[in-house]
């Protein structure tokens, strides 16, 4: 039997993965949710037809969105994760004993329920007693917070659906207010490669630059995301992602990772020339 899942990466490019079977299909108030098993990538989660994570390569994304800021900020106690209802980022965070509280805010309760049932490899940290889960609009949640968090991780979907509000200037501004004076915000920053994604990436960068004094971009290689080349944003009120990186401190934690190392951390901020150009074009606009 030939059963393939295809995702359109552009109107003219698609990625197909052979599917063994479909485990779940449902429609929440916000999106369609599907879970498949595949021979190559293992189990994978799809929202509105877009692959969110696969068993085989999700570690790259979740390690990179978490450990990079954690190796820079010397004293993270309170973390806010917006989006990320699959639990992958939380799974990495609960490995840090000195984190006291993790607030997870996702708009879609059904995503988390489905992940708890079908994707235990990402959802396994959600039952940690430090994790507090809120199912509501991230923009609304963060608006009510002031000077509360050391780290905000914006683990959003693409900016063309329910995640749209998490790519706006008002959201980044509200995050700025919700962070403490030395807080860091890390966000899923789209891909710089294909036209439409690159525009979204550029717009997000422009808005973050306008909102935070320090704003840098770092990269990772994620095979199932469009073009495989993915960016993250590092925005902060005080710390520089390289100058304030404390390798010895982080390595002393002895957290085993499969993608992240403090050496890779440094390399990840050295981005291709065309991406530098794409981003610097909006850094000094207006």
């Amino acid at each position: 039997m030939e059963l393939w899942f295809s995702e359109r990466h552009t109107p003219n490019v698609k990625l197909s993965i052979r599917v063994d079977k479909q485990l779940f299909s449902g429609k929440s108030d916000f999106q369609r949710i599907d879970v498949f098993d595949s021979p190559e990538f293992g189990r994978f989660l799809v929202l509105d037809g877009y692959m969110m994570l696969t068993e085989k390569d999700e570690f790259i994304y979740h390690e990179m969105i978490t450990h990079v800021p954690m190796a820079v900020h010397p004293d993270v106690k309170n973390v806010l994760v917006i989006g990320g209802g699959d639990g992958g980022a939380v799974r990495e965070l609960v490995r840090y004993d000195d984190i006291e509280r993790i607030d997870l805010v996702d708009i879609d309760r059904m995503v988390t329920e489905v992940c708890l049932r079908y994707l235990p490899f990402t959802a396994c940290g959600l039952n940690d007693s430090r994790v507090h889960t809120y199912f509501e609009d991230g923009l609304r949640f963060v608006r009510t917070k002031k000077n509360e968090y050391d780290l905000i991780i914006v683990d959003s979907t693409d900016p063309f659906g329910p995640g749209e509000g998490l790519f706006t200037r008002e959201f980044y501004g509200n995050c700025y207010v919700a962070l403490r004076d030395d807080g860091i915000m890390v966000n899923q920053h789209e891909s710089p490669f294909y036209g439409e994604d690159a525009l979204a990436c550029q717009r997000a960068h422009k808005r973050i630059v306008e909102s935070f004094p320090v704003s840098r971009v770092y990269q990772a290689h994620i095979p199932t995301y469009p073009s495989g080349h993915w960016l993250f944003g590092f925005a902060s009120k005080k710390y520089h992602p390289l100058k304030d990186l404390n390798e010895a401190r982080w390595n002393a934690r002895k957290l085993a990772c499969r993608y992240y190392t403090t050496t890779l951390h440094k390399g990840a901020f050295y981005i291709p020339a065309y991406v530098e150009e794409l981003l610097s074009n909006v850094e000094h606009a207006d």
């Binding site: 509000g165 200037r169 959201f171 501004g173 509200n174 207010v177």
Partner: protein, 489 residues
Amino acid sequence: MKKLTQENAPIYEALVEMQNMRLVPFDVPGHKRGRGNPELTALLGEKCMNLDVNSMKCLDNLCHPVSVIRDAEKLAAEAFGAAHAFLMVGGTTSAVQSMILTVAAKGDKIILPRNVHRSVMGAMVLCGAIPVYVDPDCDDELGIALGMSREAVEKAIRANPDAKAVLVNNPTYYGICSDIKAIVDMAHKAGMMCIADEAHGTHFYFCDGLPSGAMEAGADMAAVSMHKSGGSLTQSSILLIGNAAEEGYVRQIINLTQTTSASYLLLASLDISRRNLALRGQRTFDKVRELAEYARGEVNDIGDYYAYGRELINGDSVYDFDVTKLVVNTLKTGLAGIEVYSLLRDEYDIQTEFGDLGNVLAYISIGDRVRDVERLIGALAEVRRRFGKGSAAGLMKQVYIDPVVEVSPQDAFYAECESLPIEQTAGHTCSEFVMCYPPGIPILAPGERITPQVLDYIRYAKDKGCSMTGPEDPEIRRLNVIKTVRGAH
């Protein structure tokens, strides 16, 4: 023949049937189902171009409807509780103008509030009617004109027993309603018609818990902007009449200025929207109301902003309030409404309906989603944090400027005039319109005396970035004033 119900959409159904017939078009429009204009077809889609057709036997004719358009109008009349409904394709401007042209001829008086839409004044220029203004109440704190009080209308009627009609905004752009039922009764008792500009009141007819619609209040004519809260395409509108207005005469008036090539895209959108409203209006607008009330509460929690609601109701000049309108007074943030309006657009990619000196209006409608409302609230909080000055010092409020009508709008418009630098015009009679758009309410209308107060207002509004329209000189550095009146009234 099958009985028509609100489930039907006769024009839409006829269009579907027409498409199934696969007619070979040797009539206009010349693009012939889009084939002759591939770029436009790529933009709008084949489906849309296929529906852009001309009047024909199976589709009826808006100038003289006898079949499907007639049926659609009957259903619309039934849905709105009117004696008859005219589908309009020239915007609510055409509906308002048809009302004025129906009730007044040259030299006839119409009693109306000053905060009428420019289309009312335009119709007066066309027909030569004379405006009699009722002083509206003003809310000095908010800087907005309220509705007409019963006493003020009564006074105007007593002073002008020869007036032909009273015009009511139901509601104003800001959602404020006068006591339309009482005004209708006063007008009728004095032998006058009562007509309503309901550009912002379409939804009143379909949701309990909102202010009363003009037809229900017994008004003789009402212009309802289906394309605003009703969900139809821009430029489509409906003119409603009660039993006292003569359908055939109103049709003649409409046909004086209405196109003979009415767009079926607009007509079908009216038909489908009327069906939606009739079948699902209550549920839909309950949701809109809820969303607007939620937003109002959240905006008020930000601090300094004041999103007003039903607490304004005073039983007279604010007889009722349309809670779907999210009007936010911005003065306490130290920013003019127009400044917040511009910041929302330039910094946050949020387009609101309008900003005036003290307020910004976010239009909440059947198309809104909670997450978009969250963006608006988040952005307002950010505007206050980043740009707020924390005090209203130095901000000017909208004040009501009592207009002095020296000659009729028509006489003024056609009078011999001269162009003067604006600062030299005080004391002269204006011969053109000056307005902020939106909301499109004239600051000066033809025939009104220019006062220093009006000039201050224009200067300030221009400084704050209001878009000013109307005069021949688009920069409004000069104004046309009357030299001598050619043929006094």
